[in-house]
Each structure stands twice: as C-alpha cells, then as structure tokens.
C-alpha cells in the first residue's frame, strides 16, 4: 500500500507545484513507483512543469466520472519510468470533487504506487479539503515572508480540523519545506531564518530550498530542476526526496553565505 503525501500551502505562488513535481521525480529516481496527481481543478499547471502538457488526453474527472479507466488517464513521465502523472481537469466546476469519488481514485492509486503526491490547491481555495482529507502526511511549502507563513499556519489548522486521520483521533504527519531562501538576505538579518520559521509554525523541518534562477528556466522548458545536477535547488529537492525514502540525510546549512570575503572579515573586526 502506498503513502499519500499532500503538498499544501497557505497562499498560492510559493512553489507548491514545482515542489510536487520535483519530489515526485526525486522518489522515482530513488526507484520508488510514484504518481503525482494535480488536484488544482480548473488551474491545471503541473502538466506544464513536468513538460507533459501535450500528452494529456484524459484527466482525473474523466476517471471519477467512469469515462475511462485509471490506467488510460495515467501519463508516463518520459525521463523516468517509475513516475506517472494524473492531470487535473480544466473545468471551472470545482464541485466535481466529492469525498467518495476522491477516495475511489486514491485507493486505486494506493494499490499501484508506493508514493502518491497530491498537488493541492492553495489553502483558501475550495477543493483544498478534498486534497488533504485522505493524506497520510502533508508537506507544507512556505516562503520566508510574512504572508506565506501566516497563511500556512491557517492551512495547517484546516488540516488538523478536517483530515480523515485527525477526525479519527490520529495524528497526520506534517512537514515543512522552506522554499526560496535567499542566503544573503538571511545573513543580513533582512529575511526570516529557517530557525525563526520553525519556531513560529512549530512543525518538523523536511528541507530548505534556496532561491535559484534556474527554476524559472526549468518551468519555461518543462524540465524540472531536480534533473539538473548542478542546480542548488535541484540538489535540495534531491536531498528531500531521499529523506522521504527513509534515508537519513543531514541538513545542509544553505543559509550561510558561501563567499565570506574580505568585506565580511573587516566587518568582523568591528563586532
């Protein structure tokens, strides 16, 4: 039986879809049978990030409506044979999701795959509750800035109140990924450090991802950054994927500025 990870955030635009894509590729690279599902009904995006937008024929709504079998809607990821993708529908009608219909698809996926990643809509969107209801664990993606952090705390609150596990009195595992860290700003004291963020949100850290310009290039070309051996963000996603596969990977201090040059040593003399 597979494990369901829901990738969530409070507000939109923090890198949730990018995270879902990269972690799914990451666990597939570790040899795990993986599927990544776009649950952002009406705002399909994961297909673009994965470079699979031209391959989508059927989506999750077709499967839930019984028009096609799950197998027909699953799209293989060319660059790794362990990974499949299930698209969101572009219909505006978000009521297509219902607890029963979602459960049916997910339980089928659980039989076929070891890792199931759900790319959830933002915490305020309808459909969010469906995306977290059956989760075994949620991965909260946050940026080191006030609105993202505040909203993610509210999204975590919804998970605690509404997920199936919580309602059964069990604990839903919650992990934090801090995305778009700018080490220079953290060093200057002008950006919240990951320690600060963990203090505020009180959940476990899964990983830190530095800001990386290559991410934009990666989404432009549909070639996720984890496939780029040289990218710092890609390396960070790879470390997180290995953690998800049960490996103990030490946290890398990406917040310390690498170029501790002359200026810094002069400054130190005055401290």
């Amino acid at each position: 039986m597979g494990i369901i990870f829901s990738i969530i955030s409070g507000k939109g635009g923090v890198g949730k879809t990018t995270t879902a894509a990269n972690l799914a590729i990451g666990t597939a690279m570790q040899g795990k049978k993986t599927v990544v599902v776009d649950f952002d009904i009406g705002q399909r995006n994961l297909d673009m990030i994965l470079g699979l937008e031209n391959r989508v024929v059927y989506d999750i709504t077709h499967v839930m409506d019984g028009d096609v079998r799950l197998r027909q809607a699953l799209i293989p990821f060319k660059k790794n044979e362990n990974l499949y993708f299930l698209a969101a529908s572009q219909t505006k009608d978000k009521t297509v999701l219902s607890k029963e219909r979602v459960e049916k698809v997910l339980s089928e996926l659980k039989k076929e795959f070891e890792y199931i990643f759900i790319d959830a809509p933002a915490g305020i969107e309808s459909g969010f509750e469906h995306a977290v209801y059956f989760a075994d664990a949620v991965i909260v993606v946050v940026n080191p800035e006030v609105s993202s952090i505040r909203d993610s705390d509210r999204a975590i609150g919804i998970v605690d109140a509404k997920s199936k596990k919580s309602q059964e009195g069990k604990r839903v595992a919650k992990y934090l990924i801090i995305n778009r860290i700018n080490p220079d700003l953290v060093q200057k004291g002008e950006m919240l450090s990951s320690e600060d963020i963990l203090d505020i949100l009180e959940i476990d850290l899964l990983g830190k991802v530095p800001e990386d310009q290559i991410i934009i290039e990666a989404s432009n070309t549909g070639h996720p950054v984890i496939l780029n051996e040289k990218s710092d963000a890609g390396k960070a996603f790879k470390r997180i994927s290995r953690r998800l596969c049960g490996e103990e990977v030490p946290f890398v201090d990406i917040e310390s500025v690498k170029h501790s040059g002359l200026l810094k040593s002069i400054k130190k003399m005055f401290q």
Binding site: R150, D153, E190
Partner: protein, 81 residues
C-alpha cells in the same frame, strides 16, 4: 550588540518574527471556537424567555492549560432577577 549595531534599527527579519508571533497567536485563538457567534445568539434567545437581556459577553481564558469560556449575561437595568 556591536558598535555599529547600536545605532541601527531592529533588523527587518526580527520585526517580521515579532509581528508574526502576535498575528498567528491571535489567528489561532480566534479559530479555537468557530461557533462563538452562534453560541452567543442561542444563549440570548434562551435567556430572553425568562428575562430581558442586554448583552452576552464571552471571554476566552486559559488557566493552567485549561481552556475556559467565561460567559457573562448582562440583564437590562431594573430587571428583577
């Protein structure tokens, strides 16, 4: 604090942390009892069966990890109790 630091304002990250701690504490607090408004209305309706009522005040308190709802029912002046 360093020589230069003493002349500087608090760094913005520290201000962000302070502000977030306050905002999130308040958010969590207000989400703790999502039913408070409805509760207030129902209490008013019940008390009105017996007396004239001016207000129901509900205060949230925390004493030794125990959550307490302190409900104060304010009657109209001159109302016999």
């Amino acid at each position: 604090m360093s020589f230069f630091g003493s002349f500087k304002k608090k760094k913005s990250a520290q201000r962000a942390k302070d502000r977030l701690n306050v905002a999130i504490t308040l958010d969590r607090d207000s989400n703790l009892y999502p039913y408070l408004d409805e509760l207030k209305i129902e209490i008013m309706q019940i008390v009105q069966k017996y007396s004239t009522i001016r207000d129901v005040r509900i205060n949230k308190e925390k004493v030794d990890d125990q959550d307490i709802l302190d409900i104060e029912i304010v009657l109209e002046e001159g109302t016999k109790t």
